[in-house]
């Protein structure tokens, strides 16, 4: 664990409560009028020069949304959200689709501060210093501001572009797959997203192609009172492979901000998609003021035989997290995986987990979830594993561990298991433990200060999941874990 020292340095360099990405960028923006109506939906669609079918799709979602109720079954509580008091579209004024040099320098500077190079030559410098090549799509408020390495990817036949462009350039692909995993009517937040989504990433990896580099999207909410509703659609055609990383940050604000994203993954025969997230939205201050409300629907469809979808997430931010990346194991012999580290501190509330829906024969899934609660936070794992009547030979292994730091926080595990096929084998293991005074004393007797000791113990606890992350992300995640737990030992 070579990053321990760095972790510790970073912890030291921060004051309590200081969220590293909490800055705000002053830029001119263009917004839709506040509030939500059919006009808002039409405004967004017009801004994106969308074809008529896309507008109809959105309007249908909007009308449906009006008839739905916000879900209340999760173990989170928050004041009612006034959906009419939000902006649903905010875009930097300068044109950004032409070339990287047309992007507002303030935005480039913002991404640089976040450690994400948008200029390809800067990204290439990363290679010289030992990093691997990563293509980035950067989404700033409601629009995608840059996508790097597009040309190199297109040589391999890989399409990687903002979804708003894909709607115009690849309408057949979008029509075929959009909403095919998360239907428009799926749930309150997904339906809202379907009506007002403004941008996000689109990825198509053709038959037999192994995507030559990691793809990633960095989401940034900048503007005040603005909801972010991005939509990601990734399709791996037969025998294709892609690894995709997602990162998120936002400024520190006293008011809550809404983020309701939808991610759909489709894996055809023998295809594999690996989707990793490091979610670091602003969590609010120590008294629970401000922070992002994160209501996200992520689902992968193992549509083809022998396909595989793997979710890995490190959740450290957001005031409220409501998120269940799931796999539909439709193809025979398909595999689903979910590896999660969810950390809550301060007044954060996390209700997260996964669904593994076994439909095909000999499908298998694996769930490793590590929840860490500190401060006054609540951390819930909610999971569903089901085997359909025809899912002969379905197998699942679930392991849910919770670690408590201090005595004011809570950890909860809510697993649902249903099997309609007598040959299915489901295993569930769960533990809850506390960082003991004895462990802290032992580590401190060897010279580690309380924060170093906590970081070390927690890193040990989450090791199984960290190992699943791509290398650069693992190091970043490790640092993030230490920073998130800052001030959690007294």
């Amino acid at each position: 664990m070579p990053a321990v020292q760095e972790t510790v340095d970073q912890v030291r360099s921060l004051d309590v409560d200081q969220y590293k990405y909490g800055f705000f960028t002053e830029i001119e923006t263009e917004k839709a009028p506040k509030g939500l109506s059919e006009d808002t939906v039409r405004f967004i669609s017009a801004k994106k020069n969308e074809p008529e079918w896309m507008l109809e799709w959105r309007l249908e979602a909007f009308r449906r949304w009006l008839t739905m109720r916000e879900p209340d079954w999760a173990r989170v509580s928050y004041p009612p959200i006034d959906y009419q008091d939000l902006y649903y579209y905010s875009a930097p004024k300068r044109p950004s689709e032409l070339s990287i040099d047309d992007i507002d320098p303030e935005i480039l500077a913002t991404y640089e501060k976040l450690g994400i190079p948008l200029r390809e030559r800067d990204a290439l410098l990363g290679i010289a210093s030992g990093g691997t090549k990563v293509a980035v799509d950067a989404v700033f408020d409601s629009v995608s501001v840059a996508t790097t390495f597009k040309e190199e990817l297109s040589k391999a036949g890989v399409i990687f572009m903002p979804i708003s462009e894909a709607v115009r350039e690849y309408p057949e692909l979008v029509k075929k797959y959009l909403g095919s995993v998360v239907p428009v009517t799926d749930n309150y937040f997904a339906t809202l997203n379907s009506a007002v989504f403004s941008d996000g990433s689109f990825v198509y990896v053709p038959k037999g192609v192994r995507c030559p580099m990691e793809l990633s999207t960095y989401f940034r909410i900048n503007e005040r009172n603005t909801g972010q509703f991005e939509r990601t659609l990734i399709i791996a055609d037969e025998g294709a492979y892609v690894s995709y990383l997602e990162g998120c940050t936002a400024p520190m604000r006293d008011e809550n901000q809404l983020h309701a994203a939808v991610v759909e993954l489709v894996a055809l025969d023998d295809a594999e998609i690996k989707y990793s997230t490091v979610q670091n939205w602003y969590p609010g201050d120590k008294d629970g003021k401000g922070g992002i409300f994160n209501f996200v629907t992520k689902r992968g469809d193992c549509r083809g035989d022998r396909s595989k979808i793997s979710w890995t997430q490190v959740e450290t931010g957001s005031a409220i997290t409501w998120k269940y990346p799931s796999c539909i194991l439709r193809g025979d012999n398909s595999q689903g995986e979910f590896y999660s580290i969810a950390i809550s501190n301060g007044r954060q509330q996390v209700d997260s987990g996964t669904k593994m829906i076994h439909l095909g024969k000999n499908t298998s899934s694996r769930i490793i979830s590590k929840g860490i609660a500190a401060g006054y936070s609540d951390n819930t794992y909610r999971g569903l594993v089901t085997a359909h009547r025809k899912a002969t030979g379905a197998r699942n292994f679930t392991n849910c561990d919770s670690l408590l730091i201090g005595d004011k926080c809570g950890a909860h595990t809510v697993p649902y298991i249903e099997s309609k096929n007598s040959s299915a084998q489901f295993e569930h293991e769960a533990t809850t433990s506390k960082i003991s005074d004895d462990q802290l004393f032992y580590c401190r007797q060897r010279g580690l200060d309380p924060e170093e000791a906590t970081a070390l113990i927690v890193n040990g606890f989450v090791k199984d999941v960290l190992q699943q992350l791509p290398m650069e992300f693992a190091v970043e995640a490790q640092k993030l874990i230490a920073v998130s737990l800052e001030g959690s030992v007294g």
């Binding site: 004393f441 401190r444 007797q445 060897r446 010279g447 580690l448 113990i457 890193n459």
Partner: protein, 254 residues
């Protein structure tokens, strides 16, 4: 000046009705010396080791402890470690998921940093561990496993001595290091400890049994009972205790 100077130390278990455990204990330890502390169960031996290390479950009500003339009781736990106080635990604690190797390195670097020294380089560290581990019969597999996780009693104690060898403390406190060891393991551990004896390092060896002191031969033996040292002598005192037991001291103090 003594390396460690304990004067009239009184301490109780933390809390309103905490029981007093140390009742006026005094002890001077010079560099290079090995002191054995023996005594019956409940005499306060382990408490003494915890108080020297700074465990927070105790409250010192009277007396002083200095290390190299500095007030030890004022220092944080990790500060004491960086100043050279090492406690070999009677029951070493498990830290799952943290490889022993990682733990050793994090500890060493944390101490070096507190002392204003540079971090140890990877090749130097690997060489250091390889060398010290070999002497204690610790293989690569053990170094890769989580700290003390799934270790046998003997492996745990050997791992403690390895940590001691890597951290090179000034004052080693060994709390019943012989408990749970068979004869062969006792020998390996004792040899490891003896290899660390040096003119500028002192040791306090806490034990119930003479057996350990056949291998780690002390310069002084102290008998502890009811929170203080009731008799001190040379290494022959341990043999006498082995023959006669602690009964006479328990009566004396009553």
């Amino acid at each position: 000046m003594a390396l460690l100077d304990i004067d009239n130390l009184h301490a109780k278990i933390d809390g309103e009705h905490g029981k007093e455990i140390l009742k006026g204990l005094s002890l001077k330890v010079n560099p290079g010396e090995v002191h054995a502390i023996m005594g019956p169960n409940g005499s306060g031996k382990s408490t003494l080791s915890y108080i020297l290390a700074g465990k927070e479950d105790y409250e010192v009500t009277d007396g002083t402890v200095t290390l190299d003339g500095e007030d030890l009781l004022e220092m944080e736990i990790d500060e004491r470690a960086a100043k050279g106080v090492f406690l070999a635990f009677q029951y070493p604690v498990e830290v799952p998921g943290v490889a022993t190797m990682t733990f050793l390195r994090a500890s060493l670097n944390a101490q070096r940093k507190k002392r204003g020294e540079a971090e140890v380089s990877t090749p130097d560290f690997l060489r250091l561990v390889k060398d010290k581990a070999a002497h204690l019969g610790i293989n690569q597999d053990m170094l890769r496993r989580g700290v003390n996780v799934g270790f046998s009693g003997g492996e745990k104690k050997r791992a403690e001595i390895l940590q001691m060898a890597i951290l090179e403390p000034k004052l080693c406190v060994l709390d019943e290091t012989d408990s749970g060891l068979d004869i062969d393991a006792l020998k390996v551990v004792s040899e490891g400890v003896n290899a660390l004896r040096s003119p500028d390092r002192a040791m306090i060896v806490i034990t119930h049994y003479q057996r350990l002191l056949n291998h780690i031969v002390p310069d002084f033996v102290h008998v502890m009972n009811k929170g203080r040292i009731v008799r001190s002598g040379g290494k022959e005192l341990a043999l006498e205790l082995e023959a006669n037991g602690y009964a006479e001291y328990q009566q004396d103090a009553a």
